[in-house]
């Protein structure tokens, strides 16, 4: 077994994977909110 392939490291790997999956979701949610805010801004300007 190499140094960083223990169960602990596999759990850390899983955590890193899940972190990115959640971050991608956050980015998508953020974009949705941003688009809504921009649309409102444009409406206000009109």
């Amino acid at each position: 077994m190499t140094r960083r392939s223990s169960i602990k490291h596999r759990l850390l790997e899983l955590r890193a994977y899940v972190f990115i999956v959640i971050a991608n979701r956050m980015f998508r949610r953020g974009m949705k909110k941003h688009n809504e805010a921009n649309a409102a801004q444009v409406r206000q300007a009109d």
Binding site: T2, R3, H9, N24
Partner: protein
């Protein structure tokens, strides 16, 4: 009806880091650049970013094509139409390449600045038949990528989020320079990660480091050999990984044994026990990283030093593991530049003509061809352009050929977003090279010393004026949205447009089927089943979830499929397959100082932004950093002007006396010229303070394998001097203040 106001996500290209920010436009003009609305990304903004409206709306923007009317370099121009400029450029380029061969055409570009080339420059050159593409990445990151590939077939990315030890070889990320890395290091430190800094001076990072080794400039390779000596002697390496996944251990160990700590201490000027303590801290950390550093890129033993970083990662078990350095591979969602460039269309006979191919092949096509098969097997593409830097010509060889001292003439030179005159070693040689050209084309947003030497200048666009999906040039799998907020002024346009329009005029327009940047982005995203509009509607950023230790399935992208501690490629090319430390050439007695150049200052990126009042106010003139004892010895005080000379040339700069400096060392900032002296000093003061004047590219000062020049510790001498004639605005108050920039800078 109120003022039209819009906010969009933009990837800033004022420097090379690529922070995603928000840009506001009011009535078609960029009004403000503000931090991201995602708290995790909000800290990634520096005051250069805040200054973007001042840069993008600057009255000196070049907005129309210019044609030279005076002598080359005289800086006299006439405005012409874009169509006329492109017609004439195409006609002249065709004539030159017909007469001298396609290899007589060279391009120098900076993808960091132009952003949206999408490798169409390489595509154009490959179809035309020229291998002579150069870039600043030959001295910075791109060459590191190429040399990393020799060891394990990819350029790794540090996992700052999970690491427990960060090693900075001279690298000094600060709040307003390399900001996201600075923030990542701070966050890691806050959760307990240790930081080791190797730097001759007490840098900002060194002030807070757990261990700071003040090594002599340019001795990184010897230091790494010392670390390996400790790691091997004390059994601190990952034996299982080395046995199963590495080749060449015995050869490496034999070399390492030639560097007992006493010898390393003597070379580096650092105590043996301090070297050992740092090596132990690194090797024992549960996840450690040695992030890319421009310092190691620019040394006499650069290839060895970069390889030694790679080797340290591998033998300590930090390769492609959580908290270590990951081998990301290409994004599955974005067609990489490696495919767009059409490298396979350039015939082998032309590849072999690449300047540098014979002498210094490490980042040329010669090595790329040797790595083609394993790269395709592991990463799915035969060529891996990581950070654009893996199949380049050697800049020194190109400038020699341009000056008439090469194996064949180079007579046409295009510079895109690249102030080439000040960006490589030996500025006088570059000047001679440019003066010997039949055609020079610059694509720029402002007039630069390089553009002043051109025959034609095409006006470039900026990041707020175009759509883009930034992919870190395949270094990571991050895709970041950058949206157009305003139209480009008058006839300004992208480098994408330039290469597309030129290709159509040169008879291979069929190979450039994309009419707009958005069509190109649609194509690049097509494998993920999305268009650019889909991407921009649904997300501003995405990463591919990481998969660690991928090599267990694929092996490494090297000829052996293993980590090559002894490089089979270097061996086959006749170089030493195992890293070594090369002593500097003997220092002449009358040059008592060690000069290190290429230093980045917060207000500027490379040679840019000297014309932005609020940024110049932060640093009005270049400062040479000097130790107090050296200042006393020379009779020079803080604020005096001094002349710094090397056998290649002299520059003038103001002296700043710092006790953080190592005695006997002088630090020189990079890329200085004085746009305000245009019309008075030659080429906007390009020869007054530019560090490129000082740097030698004579053979004895070149790294063997890559041919990169030594910028970190070459001999120089210093004397008191007068203020340069045309440089008059030398105090902060001589430059206009901008409230937004000041507020952000002082935060």
């Amino acid at each position: 009806m109120g003022a039209s106001k819009e906010t969009k996500y933009s990837v800033c290209t004022v420097c090379d880091i690529g922070c995603q920010l928000r840009t506001e436009a009011v009535d078609g003009k960029v009004s403000r650049v503000i931090a991201h609305d995602n708290p995790a990304l909000a800290g990634n903004i520096c005051y250069k970013g805040t200054a973007v409206p001042l840069i993008h709306n600057h009255p000196d923007r070049i907005t129309k094509p210019l044609k030279r009317v005076g002598e080359r370099g005289e800086d006299r121009w006439e405005e012409i139409s874009y169509a006329q400029a492109m017609d004439e450029i195409a006609q002249k380029l065709a004539a030159i390449t017909q007469q001298h061969g396609p290899e007589s055409f060279a391009v120098s570009t900076s993808g960091w600045n132009t952003q949206t080339t999408h490798s169409l420059d390489r595509r154009f050159m490959n179809l035309l038949g020229s291998p002579n593409w150069i870039s600043g990445v030959a001295l910075c990151a791109g060459n590191t990528a190429a040399v990393n590939k020799l060891t394990y077939g990819w350029f790794p990315m540090p996992d700052y989020g999970n690491t427990n030890c960060i090693v900075l070889f001279g690298h000094n990320p600060r709040k307003h320079s390399w900001t996201p890395i600075y923030n990542a290091i701070r966050a890691a430190r806050a959760r307990g990660a240790k930081v080791i800094v190797l730097d001759p001076r007490v840098s900002d990072q060194a002030e807070h480091a757990d261990i700071h080794l003040r090594l002599k400039a340019g001795t990184d390779a010897a230091m790494c050999l010392g670390w390996l000596k400790v790691i091997f002697d004390e059994g601190l390496y990952d034996k299982d990984f080395v046995e199963r996944w590495c080749i060449g251990f015995d050869q490496l160990k034999q070399r390492v044994d030639e560097y007992p700590l006493e010898r390393v201490a003597q070379i580096t000027g650092v105590e043996a026990e301090d070297i050992a303590a740092a090596a132990r801290l690194y090797a024992n950390a549960d996840g450690a990283v040695i992030p890319w550093t421009p310092i190691t890129d620019q040394q006499l033993s650069s290839t060895s030093a970069i390889r030694l970083h790679s080797i340290l990662r591998a033998v300590t078990g930090n390769l492609d593991v959580v908290g270590g350095e990951t081998l990301g591979g290409f994004s599955a969602n974005y067609i990489p530049e490696s495919e767009l460039a059409l490298h396979d269309r350039l015939p082998m006979a032309q590849k072999a003509k690449q300047l540098g191919y014979d002498d210094h092949p490490a980042f040329t096509y010669r090595v790329a061809e040797m790595l083609k098969e394993p790269t395709e097997k592991v990463w799915g593409y035969p060529y891996a352009d990581i950070v654009m830097g893996c199949h380049m010509a050697n800049p020194t060889n190109v400038f020699r050929a341009m000056a008439g001292d090469g194996p064949y003439p180079v007579k046409a030179f295009f510079c895109l977003g690249n102030n080439a005159l000040l960006s490589y070693a030996n500025q006088h040689q570059i000047y001679r090279a440019m003066m010997n050209q039949e055609l020079i084309v610059a694509h720029e947003i402002f007039m630069t010393p390089t553009a002043m030497l051109a025959d034609y200048i095409l006006p470039g666009d900026v990041f707020t004026e175009r759509n883009h999906v930034a992919d870190s040039w395949s270094w990571s799998t991050r895709l970041a949205l950058s949206q157009k907020v305003v139209d480009a002024p008058e006839e300004a346009s992208s480098t994408f447009q330039f290469w597309t329009d030129l290709a159509h005029r040169m008879g291979f327009g069929d190979e450039f089927p994309w009419q707009t940047l958005e069509e190109m982005l649609d194509y690049r995203l097509s494998r993920s089943g999305r268009t650019f509009a889909d991407f921009a509607k649904t997300t501003y950023m995405e990463f591919e979830p990481p998969v660690f230790r991928k090599y267990r399935k694929t092996g490494f992208a090297t000829p052996s499929g293993k980590v090559e501690l002894a490089s089979s490629i270097l061996g086959d090319l006749g170089f030493d397959p195992v890293p070594y430390y090369r002593e500097l050439p003997e220092r002449p007695e009358d040059y008592p100082y060690l000069i290190f150049t290429g230093v980045r200052e917060d207000p500027f990126f490379q040679t840019g932004q000297r014309n932005i009042e609020s940024l110049r106010r932060r640093t009005p003139v270049p400062k040479l950093f000097l130790h107090p004892a050296d200042a006393r010895k020379e009779g020079i005080a803080e604020g005096d002007w001094a002349k710094l000379s090397t056998p290649k040339g002299s520059v003038l700069a103001q002296v700043a006396v710092h006790d953080t400096m190592k005695e006997g060392h002088i630090r020189v900032p990079h890329g200085w010229w004085y746009p305000e002296t245009r019309g008075q000093a030659a080429l906007g003061g390009a020869f007054i303070s530019s560090d490129a004047v000082l740097c030698s590219d004579d053979d004895e000062w070149l790294d063997h394998e890559q041919g990169v020049p030594h910028f970190k510790g070459f001999p120089g001498k210093l004397e008191k001097a007068s203020q340069p004639e045309h440089v008059t605005r030398i105090r902060p108050e001589d430059w206009q203040l901008d409230a937004a920039v000041e507020a952000h800078a002082d935060q």
